[in-house]
């Protein structure tokens, strides 16, 4: 295995759960999660050379994942060999009580607009305001205003 392959493998090993969560929040079914996950990994692979370490690797991966989710063509039929993700919980199964809470969370976040969805996801991931603002492309001040609005929206959805 070449050095860059080793680095990529390690990168995926360390961040696969984070990538999966982003893909899950932007998908409608398991098949779409698989496709998105694969697309994000391909973009990371292709971008490894250009990553010069100016930003934190985690921020860099979030940036790619969110932009891929935005750019993802949901109608396109994927061809060729595909990655089958090995996840034993069916997050889309509402009957499963274990997934009920997560399923409700998913539904509410999914009703938000794409930018708001990205913001709340990064906030839930525990990123700082500066990091979220940098990934989304707004000022930290604007972000705090948006977060208040999103919180109110989520609360209203529950009601």
């Amino acid at each position: 295995m070449k050095a860059d392959e080793k680095f990529f493998t390690q990168l995926i090993r360390d961040h696969k759960r984070m990538i999966y969560t982003v893909c899950y929040m932007f998908s409608k079914d398991q098949e779409q999660v698989n496709d998105l996950f694969q697309d994000v990994c391909i973009k990371i692979w292709n971008g490894l050379e250009s990553f010069k370490g100016q930003s934190d690797i985690k921020t860099w991966i979030y940036r790619i994942a969110l932009n891929v989710c935005l750019n993802f063509d949901k109608k396109e039929k994927r061809k060729g060999e595909r990655i089958q993700l090995d996840v034993n919980i069916n997050l889309y199964d509402e009957q499963d009580s274990k997934n009920l809470q997560v399923g409700q969370l998913y539904k509410r976040i999914n009703r938000l607009g794409l930018v708001d969805r990205g913001i709340i996801l990064l906030w839930l991931e525990g990123l700082s305001y500066e990091e979220i603002a940098d990934i989304i492309g707004i000022t930290p001040k604007n972000l705090s205003v948006k977060l208040v609005r999103i919180r109110e929206q989520l609360k209203q959805m529950k009601n």
């Binding site: 990655i83 996840v87 919980i89």
Partner: protein, 195 residues
């Protein structure tokens, strides 16, 4: 105050639910990394192959220009004009697509990226209009060249003109369909951002 407290409690619940999802995922393998490297490496190679094929097709089309002169005796100025037009089209496409290049995924923020998609969409519409005007002019001149250089044999003249028209209509339909596909993708992205 009451409302603020309720919202904070709500958010704390949201974070707890999210942590539930994360801890559930912690127990999962999700993906076999070695298998993933194998597939991703191959897919990345496929993308490079597609780009190489596109460049080769453009180069081939470019070198086919002199065939207009040798096949039906088109004037050399028409051959040069065709080659120049193809070069301009290739450069414009390269510049337009370059502005939504894959590398932007790594460097731009979500909003910057969506802005570049909007700009790309606007430029594509303008370029499509110019492209159709250029194509109508080019096909008309090509028709005229076929007409004046095949005056001796009427059957050849009409057959060549017919084939040219068929190729032009087919090309226009394919071009329009590709354009619509690009537009639909852009609209999809923009509507997601603006919803």
């Amino acid at each position: 105050m009451e409302n603020e407290r309720e919202i904070m409690a709500e958010m704390a619940q949201l974070k707890a639910d999210y942590q539930e999802l994360k801890s559930e995922l912690e127990k999962q393998q999700i993906v076999n990394e070695n298998k993933l490297v194998h597939i991703v490496g191959r897919k990345a190679g496929d993308i490079r192959k597609v780009k190489f094929t596109e460049i080769m097709c453009a180069a081939l089309a470019f070198t086919c220009c002199p065939s207009f002169h040798y096949s039906f005796g088109a004037d050399w100025w028409f051959v040069y004009a065709t080659a120049a037009m193809m070069a301009v089209c290739a450069i414009v496409s390269f510049v337009l697509y370059g502005r939504v290049d894959a590398s932007h995924l790594f460097t731009k923020s979500l909003l910057e990226y969506s802005q570049s998609i909007k700009r790309f969409r606007r430029n594509m519409i303008n370029w499509e209009r110019i492209g159709y005007v250029l194509m109508i002019i080019w096909v008309s001149v090509l028709g005229y060249q076929i007409w004046i250089h095949n005056s001796e044999e009427q059957a050849v003249r009409y057959l060549t003109l017919g084939l040219m028209l068929l190729a032009a209509v087919t090309g226009a339909i394919i071009g329009y369909r590709l354009f619509r596909k690009v537009m639909d993708t852009c609209d999809d992205i923009i509507s997601q951002i603006e919803e």
